[in-house]
């Protein structure tokens, strides 16, 4: 009990200082915490593009600060606290591992708004979470991959066995299998979001095992470089367009477009209308974009892929539509049934046909 009271006192003390600096300045100060370097060409790069879009939109009315390469854990908590102390009005923490630190700092600074990407905890009313339905993009990728593969082997560089990544694998597999019943997925768990050397090794290993399509859920361009080196192997841009590998090996990409969301949330802080929300947007609102499908893809396949994208944009198609079974053969979704967000958010199983176990 006593320890709790001490903690409460500490929170109150910090909260006071927090308030003193939250409203003492004219510009709206926006902070960004990045897990990788802004030049990663993928995940962090796109978040930084969002930051630049905020600057472009509001000009002199905002000041943005960012910190890159922030480890997930105790260091993240200090970096976030530091931004709050220095008078940030809203802070975007852009990696899953910042979830607990973000909520811990948010509890100490009730007047600062916090936006955590890809998490699920909103412990205080000043925390929002946001993520994108990347799996919609994966459906398009899976379709192209299933049609394009000649060896019927698709390599998948997965990062961590968390629901977001598992959703991506399932979505890609379902759509590859639908157009090519012989397709096999070979999944490598890299246990990193960004490690060019490890990603290149994984890609090379998959290619040596016969994969001629590489899908990646890691953020660097290293797998595309490995595909280019191998020749006759295609891949996709991850998180960012990775256009420098066009027209092949990069035949398309999933682009995370955070700019509209960041602009809207900063505007809400300026107007005083900010509220804690849980946002999960996909292709329709423009948070997920499909990058240009190059001429390396035959015109008919491209047309099908674009049609699928258009159907999702119009809200007519859900990538997780039954009949679908789980890996163990049990029924997940009946004919015509679509997955609910709760199941998707916590997805911890493979769909039928995928081989191998989800590591734990």
């Amino acid at each position: 009990m006593k320890r709790r009271t001490i903690l409460a006192g500490a929170v109150a003390a910090l909260a006071l200082t927090g308030t003193a600096f939250a409203d003492g300045h004219a510009k709206t100060k926006v902070g960004f915490v990045y897990v990788g370097p802004v030049g990663d060409g993928g995940w962090t790069y796109e978040h930084d593009q969002g930051r630049l879009a905020v600057e472009a939109e509001f000009g002199d009315k905002v000041e943005t600060v960012y910190q890159e390469n922030v480890p997930e854990g105790a260091d993240a908590e200090r970096v976030i606290t530091q931004m709050a102390l220095q008078g940030a009005d809203i802070i975007f923490t852009t990696s899953f591992g910042y979830m607990d630190p973000t909520n811990a700092v948010a509890a100490k600074f009730p007047d600062v708004k916090f936006e955590h990407a890809t998490g699920y905890k909103r412990e205080t009313p000043n925390v929002s979470t946001y993520s994108a339905r990347f799996y919609e993009g994966r459906a398009v990728q899976g379709h192209i991959a299933g049609k394009m593969t000649k060896t019927n082997k698709i390599g998948y560089i997965a990062s961590f066995p968390i629901p977001e990544v598992i959703r991506g694998i399932n979505s890609a597999y379902i759509h590859a299998k639908r157009v090519n019943p012989d397709v096999e997925f070979n999944i490598v768990w890299a246990y990193t979001w960004f490690d060019p050397a490890k990603e290149a090794d994984a890609a090379t290993a998959l290619i040596e095992q016969g994969a001629d399509v590489i899908l990646q859920h890691t953020d660097s361009t290293a797998p595309l470089a490995a595909a280019e080196k191998a020749g006759n192997v295609i891949g996709f841009g991850q998180a960012s367009d990775m256009a420098e590998y066009k027209p092949s090996p990069r035949v398309s990409s999933i682009i995370d477009n955070w700019a509209p969301y960041y602009i809207a949330r900063v505007k809400a802080v300026m107007d005083g209308t900010w509220e804690s929300v849980d946002t999960w947007d996909g292709i329709a609102p423009g948070m997920v974009e499909i990058g240009e499908i190059t001429d390396a893809v035959p015109a008919d396949i491209k047309a099908e892929a674009l049609a699928m994208e258009a159907a999702m944009a119009a809200g007519e198609y859900n990538p997780f539509t039954g009949p679908l079974n789980k890996q163990d053969g049990s029924v997940w979704l009946a004919e015509g049934e679509t997955a609910d967000d709760g199941t998707l958010a916590g997805m911890s199983f493979f769909v039928e046909g995928l081989t191998g176990d989800i590591p734990n």
Partner: protein
């Protein structure tokens, strides 16, 4: 001509003064680098070295200095004993991870029981975990003459794999919706390693670090074992004739350094980090090697070196977010510090002679 001439004995004066010279040289060279990057070098140096201790928000950063320096000092003290005796434990990072896992596992096993005995049990488990992990290279060296540098280093990667497996499996938060990472100790008072005095950063790990400094000092200056450690490092043959049992010394040095690293891991996971997560370790075990040498393997030196290292981390983060310096520039700055320290080390063992020697 400038020539180097070996001193008969290392200079006491230079031994004491070179660390300060190195810091000064780093400030100058780093300042030039910051100027080339288009930032005000004086502002940058002040942000890194002055602001965390005396700046506007020093009340927060001073506490963070202790949080950051605590594990570095605790691990470095253990390593320094071995390094003095010629026992090279490079795998403190692995012992740190295993200590954290063992300690956390004990704490989580009791959840949600509240008892004042839980935290001490975790401390014992953490120390024991690190100790046993270090015994692997120790026993292999004693029994089979394997190289402890390689074995201890490679065991780091094994420990990382175990950590990932624990965060995704056995220790995963059952209420975490399938996401990786254990329960957060913050919400489990009996197991939480809280600040002993609120907002000072003074948690049990820092207390243990100070105790370790004192013990190491007494051991090395007053105790027979300390004498044996120094003797074994400087004159192994003489030590053997002098009745030192080399096997016992190897096991002692590895055991103590492993135990201290394990304790550091336990205090970190139950306090500042808060949970077992895939990316829990951020390199303290490796940075501590630098701290040990920066502190000249002397307990008081290590104390100061740990604080200095923490200062460059926290000041570096500040410079990133306040001045927009890239993370790579801060890492280069830290690299310079080590480079200059080793470079000016020459002055301890050699003296500079200007002008030509008499030609023979």
């Amino acid at each position: 001509m400038i020539a180097l001439e070996k001193r008969p004995t290392p200079s006491r004066f230079w031994t004491g003064i070179t660390p300060f010279l190195a810091v000064l040289a780093t400030m100058i060279a780093g300042g030039i680098m910051f100027a080339i990057l288009g930032k005000d070098p004086f502002a940058a140096i002040r942000t890194i070295f002055w602001d965390p201790v005396f700046g506007e928000f020093a009340f927060y950063y001073r506490s963070q200095l202790l949080v950051k320096a605590g594990p570095l000092i605790l691990i470095a003290i253990g390593l320094s004993l071995g390094f003095r005796a010629g026992v090279w434990n490079i795998g403190a990072e692995g012992q740190y991870i295993i200590g954290a896992i063992c300690g956390a596992a004990v704490g989580l096993a009791f959840y949600p029981t509240e008892s004042f005995l839980i935290f001490p049990a975790m401390v014992i488990a953490g120390g024991l975990g690190g100790f046993l992990w270090a015994m692997i290279p120790g026993i292999l060296k004693v029994k089979f003459q394997t190289n402890e540098i390689l074995v201890s280093l490679l065991l780091v990667y094994v420990a990382e794999a175990i950590l990932a497996s624990m965060a995704l499996g056995a220790l995963k938060n059952p209420d975490g919706a399938g996401f990786p990472g254990s329960r957060n100790f913050r919400s489990y008072p009996s197991a939480y390693n809280e600040d002993l005095i609120a907002n000072t950063g003074m948690h049990w790990g820092v207390v243990f670090a100070f105790i370790a400094v004192i013990f190491a000092y007494i051991l090395l200056s007053r105790h027979m074992l300390g004498f044996q450690i120094k003797l074994a490092g400087q004159a192994p043959r003489a030590a053997r004739f002098g009745g030192v049992n080399p096997d016992r010394l190897i096991l002692f040095c590895l055991g103590v350094s492993g135990m201290l690293a394990g304790l550091a891991g336990l205090f970190e996971v139950s306090g500042p980090a808060g949970q077992v997560s895939i990316d829990f370790n951020v390199g303290y075990g490796f940075t501590a090697i630098i701290v040990a040498f920066l502190g000249r393997l002397h307990p008081i030196g290590i104390l100061l070196a740990g604080l200095l290292m923490a200062l460059t981390y926290i000041g570096g983060e500040l410079a990133q977010s306040n001045l927009g310096l890239p993370a790579a520039a801060i890492q280069a700055f830290q690299g310079m510090l080590l480079f200059f320290l080793l470079a000016v080390d020459v002055l301890t063992n050699y003296r500079l002679r200007f002008g030509n020697r008499e030609v023979a």
